[in-house]
Point group: C2
Chain length 553, copies 2
């Protein structure tokens, strides 16, 4: 049952995403067949449905646009080579246990990337939706071209397209609650909403047939019946070389996208996901897609959700789906011939609009401004420079935010909570401080990138506390001190010693202390290393009273 | 006096570095004149001596090699444009207060870069040293070419070169101690050693003159006397555009190199260095170099050291040096005509060999393997791919090490030191733990790049402690939790709740708690937030005893 529903959803999506990738419709059907089997052999999620997906199709079109013209033999060959390369890369990464590569991209950046890609997709669908012809280019060129071409638009195509969008949006946003009010059980209401795209496709085929739309608007056209031939194209270097990098990016993005779907489902079902198994599964899926003449695939969110709602309990569901797809390919391709392209465009637009993560953006912006900026940056990076540059920008922004955060360490002057052994920020708690004794807590590991900021802050705190004789650095949050930072600390130690201020350390972690004792820093340290702030205060207050005499009186 | 000594050192260096940069010798003298004045106007270090320097000259030659042939008018124009652009970039960065850019490069990476550049320089000097002619190329091509050309070498050039190297090495390594043993005061002994290059130059000029070496080996040749003309060349776009990126790199590297010299000197003298003033000073110096027909300059370590030893107390010393250089240009250029190029090559080789930081490498390798790897990687990056790619590789490696470190967080199971309120690692201390109660201390901020590793570790610790009913995460080292990490923590919280394990937080820092209270995480948390581990233990042990009953009995 789950398999049947997934297949019913898959057919319109396969046709639509093939159009998006710039390959003939039957290639989309081929890509929906064997990849399911490939994933089932190696993947770790029981409910994940692998096949053509919006972002992958856009990336395929983008990678191929630079080496061939859509519709040529080179273009189709390129699509197959791209899937094969992406499959090999994925599978190898899985074997090498590089699943941690998913950590290259932060969630806000993934979300910004997908939102940007979805926006690109929607803009790209203006052409079939309006029945106009555009030369292509960047998002803004397409928008401008569309405005110019507006007088040329085919009213029928636009009518069909807008009506389809309306039906699909209604099905997604309002159908389930309406059906439930009407007394339909939740499960069936959900399924009906999910099957609307298929019903829309069948209805418009019927209308197209009776009203002879094929004379007035662009339709899908003849789809060759029968199963795909098996085999790989010759890997001509000239075609393969420029696809290596795009294939790697498709492998990475497909993995990240699929993994987040798999995690979300696994959490609800209490399953465990193995990222390396996922890599192997997606690798096998893409290789299978390639040998059967398909294009790059990955996990699909909407079909996976349906699979799960419909009660898929094992990867077997994927295999049954594949079997049903065989029936479609053998007997049912003929009926899609009359389908207007505007209906497929509407399907793509509605699917893509669901990928634009406005709520995520608001959430990120509120929780952490840096995350919000990374998300917006990636979004516009994709829109302005395309999907491939967009991923590069995304990875760059992920790490730029990380570096930005670690480079601006939080440093607090702390004092003791009266009657306890705990030390807290003087700005947040009412605490006791001792004259001549300054406690500074450094809330970050010390690296080349932040040590200058730390030293500057330290010096300015000493200026604000000119009577300081003992400075205690609390290293409870410092997990590492790199070589550059250690050199600067040594300089600070000699500088302070010359000014008559002793430098102490407190709450140094084991691994840090191990490493410090291998360096020249500890022997040169003018002060001592204390187990805790409390012990440091006891010891230094005592010494201070003894040593300083009249000043403290 | 300081100015006189610095000028005496500067002349051979100016000639040598001009040869290294591929420009005529008088350009080196021009570049030693006005930059001193430019730096004195804006810079913040009293002792820093600005002028031609080894790494800058190599970078100049490298940048120009792709756009012009050494000896052509385009090449000289390019050198001036490069200095002008580097000056503009530096000065602007100073005005924009971008001094923190120096933090882009860690010390090991700077050290690896300078060592690699110095090695490149030495390999490049084989040509004048041996009197052979090489087509150039990468470090290894030059080495291979040199071997092939070995039969062609000029014995006299090699003899002069090797003898010069011997004299210079002797002066650097052995002369000062010998002179001090002979009763010469420390200061004078130092200065004599520093002036050896100038004495060597003068001696070899005399020998060359009397023995008519100019007939047998390459010599410097006629140097036009008189002061440089002032003005800038036309900035032809064709020449300027390819120099933009190299100029930016020269500005950055010149800044980083000069800043580390300035810091080292300032520490000894108790001065304060302002990185932004340094940027403006170096920017002015390079602009001055450009308007007087010179090439890119930066702070020189050897001359700065001499300046300081000889007692320079204000930037005035630089201005006096410039005045002395005017006298050299007006009256003394004639005497350098007979100087064999092999002597200059020897000067460059000995200076460059001092830049190869073997001790730094051993130190970094011992203190922190990651730093050592970054240093070696940058070193070979420069050797294999050239100086510009080398800097890119260096910045990449700097951040790769940072990311590598933060992505592998240290996590400790902790327990209470008996009789205290302190909690420490169970593997390092004898501590008390409570049944059903697991304390985990996370020693790193939580980011997208490490949250998967943290969650994996958390789950495996729970497997090792299957009786856990309360898991306390100690966030004393956690300064930030990014959006991606927060999502995963939310998932962990619901997962654990389903398994009957409560998740608590302890020692959460103020800024982290502020941010968490703006999210949905805190309301959903199955456990509580405790001020300290001790309080958490008291509360949870109590609840455990009450709730669990027979199990704990």
């Amino acid at each position: 049952m789950a398999a049947m529903v997934a297949t019913m959803m898959m057919v319109p999506q396969a046709l639509a995403y093939a159009a998006l990738a710039g390959v003939p419709p039957h290639v989309g059907l081929y890509a929906s067949l064997l990849p399911l089997v490939g994933y089932a052999m190696f993947g770790s999620s029981a409910a994940l449905s692998v096949g053509p997906a919006a972002v992958m199709s856009l990336m395929t079109a983008s990678a191929l646009s630079s080496i061939a013209i859509p519709g040529t033999a080179d273009y189709f060959t390129g699509a197959v080579i791209l899937a094969a390369l992406a499959g090999v890369f994925s599978f190898l990464m899985g074997l090498l246990r590089l699943g941690a590569l998913a950590n290259l991209l932060s969630h806000p950046v993934i979300s910004g990337f997908v939102s940007g890609a979805a926006t690109l997709i929607i803009i790209g669908q203006l052409e079939p939706m309006l029945g106009i012809h555009i030369d292509g280019g960047t998002a803004f060129e397409i928008l401008l071209d569309s405005l110019e071409e507006l007088p040329e638009l085919q009213p029928l195509a636009m009518g069909i397209g807008l009506a389809s969008v309306a039906v699909l949006l209604f099905a997604r946003l309002a159908l389930t609650p309406l059906l439930r009010k009407a007394g339909v059980p939740a499960g069936s209401a959900h399924l009906l909403a999910r099957l609307t795209p298929m019903l829309l496709v069948l209805t418009s085929i019927a209308l197209s047939y009776f009203l002879e739309w094929d004379r007035k608007v662009d339709v899908v056209g003849a789809i060759p019946a029968g199963l795909p031939g098996f085999g790989l194209p010759t890997f001509e270097w000239q075609l393969t070389y420029p696809l290596l990098l795009p294939a790697l990016m498709i492998a990475l993005l497909g993995f990240v996208e699929s993994l987040s779907i798999a995690y979300a489902i696994a959490l609800r079902r209490g399953e465990r996901i193995d990222p390396n198994a996922e890599l192997r599964g997606l690798g096998a899926a893409n290789l299978m897609s390639a040998v059967s003449g398909g294009f790059a695939v990955t996990g699909s969110f909407s079909r996976t959700a349906v699979n799960e709602e419909a009660g898929a309990v094992s990867p077997l569901s994927g295999v049954i789906s594949a079997g049903l797809m065989v029936l479609v390919l053998l007997f049912l391709t003929g009926i899609f011939q009359q389908l207007p392209l505007a209906v497929l465009a509407a399907t793509i637009i509605v699917a893509a609009s669901g990928l634009i993560d406005v709520r995520g953006f608001i959430h990120n912006w509120r929780y952490d401004r840096t995350d919000g900026i990374a998300m917006v940056g990636t979004f516009f990076g994709v829109l302005l420079f395309g999907v491939e540059a967009g991923i590069g920008i995304g990875i760059g922004l992920s790490f730029a935010t990380l570096i930005w955060r670690t480079s601006r360490p939080h440093i607090a002057v702390v004092g003791r909570l009266p009657g306890t052994e705990h030390f807290r920020n003087v700005l947040r708690h009412t605490v006791e401080t001792q004259p001549g004794l300054l406690f500074l807590r450094i809330d970050e590991s010390l690296f080349f990138s932040n040590i200058s900021a730390v030293v500057d802050r330290l010096m300015s705190e000493l200026k604000r506390h000119p009577d300081t004789r003992d400075l205690v650095l609390i290293l409870s949050s410092v997990s590492r001190i790199d070589g550059t930072a250690l050199e600067r600390l040594q300089e600070v130690n000699s500088d302070l010693e010359a000014r008559g201020i002793r430098l102490h350390l407190a709450e140094v972690k084991g691994p840090v202390l191990d490493r410090l004792s291998r360096s020249k820093f500890l022997p040169a340290l003018s002060g001592r290393v204390f187990l805790s702030c409390y012990i440091a205060e006891l010891a230094l207050r005592h010494e201070g009273n003894k040593g300083a005499g009249p000043e403290t009186a």
